[in-house]
């Protein structure tokens, strides 16, 4: 039972990281990236490629890289690779496109990447994918397999905390504030000298890098990775979490992941499967996700936790304020 709990919590931590990255793109900057999961996949593949050695059975599995490096290097490489892909896709999709067209373009470009990876066995193992991904630090730490799961959970939680603090810092910075202004009203942002394209591109790349980092953690956690793990539908699961928890609120998205990915998804696992319909439980998750999105958007669009507000606390420095009291009433 504890084993199961540790496993769920690790998933939640990793998805929390992914959700924060998606929140940077959507919650902060208003960009609807429908292929976010692709960036996670790039991080997973590259990180796995860096940490794996050459394949044991070359006739069954082929892939590039195989550099047998430590996890830290692999994760860094995965993060950077995802960022580079973000630069390319963002650079194409962000040029003067309406928000829904932008979304469709991201989805289409993601499909192309999916095809390239799935069809090319030599790249990252094609449909077979990668497996036997080494566990970070397993060879140097004297832990039993059970202890190791706790260690890895700790690693993921620390990573989540790090990503969260980074996000919180940036949210309040001029950078984050400008992004939110762009989300609210792009034209006004341009009228006040902000290079909207450049801001959005940076936010897109930042979100992609966080996705890549999450992907590296996921690949090492599961030990294997293949196209089944990053179908387009996975992005929607993340969106459900952040819509639910509160777009724009970093803590909120973690809450959303906890509720949706943690509680609801796991709950559907326990519903007795319908005989003859093995996909039904998974499908139920999809139906619930869609329902949650529509209900939230209809009744509580800001999500469970509202966006944190700036509060300027200092007192006045000038004296002309009697009219100020009037204006406030």
């Amino acid at each position: 039972m504890i084993d199961y709990g540790v496993s769920v919590l690790t998933s939640v931590a990793i998805f929390g990281i992914l959700a924060i990255g998606l929140n940077v793109q959507w919650g902060w900057a208003g960009m609807l990236n429908l292929t976010y999961i692709t960036f996670m996949a790039v991080g997973a593949y590259v990180s796995a490629g860096f940490t794996l050695g050459p394949p044991l059975y070359a006739h069954q599995q082929r892939y590039i890289l195989s550099l047998h490096m430590p996890f830290v290097v692999g994760a860094a490489a995965g993060t950077i690779a995802a960022g580079l892909l973000g630069l390319v896709i963002g650079g194409i999709a962000l040029r003067r496109l309406r928000s829904d067209y932008f979304a469709i373009v991201t989805l289409s470009l993601g499909l192309v990447v999916y095809q390239i990876v799935a069809q090319n066995r030599g790249l990252f193992g094609g449909q077979v994918g990668l497996f036997g991904i080494p566990e970070p630090g397993a060879d140097i730490l004297p832990l039993t397999p059970e202890q190791y799961t706790f260690f890895y959970l700790g690693l993921c939680l620390v990573s989540l905390a790090g990503v969260y603090l980074l996000a919180r810092h940036l949210y309040r910075s001029p950078f984050g504030r400008t992004l939110r202004a762009i989300r609210e009203d792009e034209l006004a942002a341009k009228a006040f000298a902000r290079d909207v394209f450049w801001f959005k591109l940076r936010a897109f790349v930042l979100g992609s890098m966080i996705a890549g980092f999450g992907g590296a953690l996921l690949a090492a956690f599961v030990g294997a990775f293949n196209p089944a793990g990053w179908t387009p539908g996975e992005t929607f699961v993340l969106y459900t979490a952040i819509f639910l928890g509160g777009t724009g609120n970093n803590l909120g998205v973690i809450l959303g992941v906890l509720i949706f990915t943690g509680a609801i998804s796991e709950a559907t696992r326990f519903i007795p499967p319908i005989p003859g319909n093995p996909d039904a439980n998974q499908a139920l998750r999809g139906v619930i996700a869609g329902l949650i999105i529509i209900l939230i958007l209809r009744f509580r669009p800001q999500g469970l936790l509202p966006e944190p507000r700036d509060h300027d606390a200092a007192r006045k420095t000038t004296t002309s304020s009697q009219a100020g009291a009037q204006a406030a009433s």
């Binding site: 429908l34 496109l97 067209y101 373009v105 095809q115 929607f236 969106y239 999809g286």
Partner: protein, 292 residues
């Protein structure tokens, strides 16, 4: 040479299917100003509708009608029950679009729950192959092309010569102005969704008849190429969508014959992105003026 001509032939059949789907999408977009991400599901629903009808009769004509009718009603209901309430509250484009994504999720997964995720079979007669000029068609291929042409003509007649068609064009042009000139805009929108749903459902039926099998994701796989065709023709413009469908159908089939079949997706994406970035108002119109 024969490879080329045969792929052109396939291209025409594919174009016919895409045309049905893209015209439906364009009609719906013209009155709602959002691309319906659940559009693929309309195709799938059509196939399932025909499948259910086959429990009663194997008359393909009736099955097809059933598929189209079921989808038409569901489309109407979605507009009435989900889209319009959001629009009344002044929801932004992004929000509406996300709502259609959520609908797509619900319908696709709902179908999996009800029918199972495995492929379903339709009872269709086996098709003999004819050589029509340089092309090689099965009887079903010919029927599909004929159906597509017939529907295009019907749409043209409705848009051009009926009172509803004129009202529809007015609403597509400007929702506010149409309302001011006495047109019952909500009714026109509802009927347009009904029409679009019916045509999309028919597209799904036709796809299922041709292949003989389908599953809950069948329609979704056509979403991208439908969108590409509609955009290429100038989204919101049914006539443009027809032309866009021909282009997409031919380009993807011919390209797919010479490159690998999986490259069809890449080709469709390429066309879509090129059009959106270079000629956003479609290939057949004047260069888009800057929008503020």
């Amino acid at each position: 040479m024969t490879v080329f001509m045969h792929s052109v032939g396939f291209g025409l059949v594919t174009a016919s299917v895409i045309a049905l789907s893209a015209v439906a999408l364009s009609l719906q977009f013209s009155v709602s100003n959002i691309p319906n991400f659940a559009h693929g599901e309309f195709l799938t629903l059509g196939a399932y509708g025909a499948f259910m009808a086959q429990l009663v009769t194997h008359n393909l004509f009736i099955d097809a009608l059933a598929g189209g009718a079921v989808t038409a009603v569901i489309a109407w209901a979605i507009n009435r029950g989900v889209i319009e309430p959001f629009m009344k509250r002044g929801a932004r484009i992004t929000v509406l679009f996300v709502v259609t994504i959520a609908l797509s999720l619900m319908i696709q997964n709902g179908l999996i729950i009800f029918f199972g995720g495995t492929t379903q079979n339709l009872v269709v007669p086996s098709y003999s192959v004819n050589d029509v000029g340089p092309f090689r068609f099965t009887v079903m291929d010919e029927v599909i092309i004929a159906v597509a042409v017939a529907v295009m003509l019907a749409v043209h007649v409705v848009l051009r010569y009926t009172k509803f068609g004129k009202a529809q064009r007015a609403v597509a042009d400007s929702r506010e102005l149409a309302g001011v000139t006495g047109i019952d805009t909500p009714r026109v929108v509802a009927l347009t969704w009904l029409m679009a749903g019916g045509i999309a459902g028919l597209a799904g039926v036709v796809i299922a008849f041709q292949g003989g099998t389908f599953d809950p994701t069948t329609g979704y796989t056509y979403l991208l190429v439908t969108f590409a065709a509609a955009v290429a023709g100038g989204i919101g413009r049914p006539y443009g969508a027809m032309l866009g469908a021909v282009i997409l159908g031919l380009v993807t089939e011919v390209g797919g014959a010479y490159l690998a079949s999986s490259y069809k997706v890449v080709i469709a994406v390429g066309v879509l992105i090129l059009v959106l970035l270079v000629r956003p108002s479609g290939l057949f119109s004047a260069p888009d003026r800057q929008s503020i």
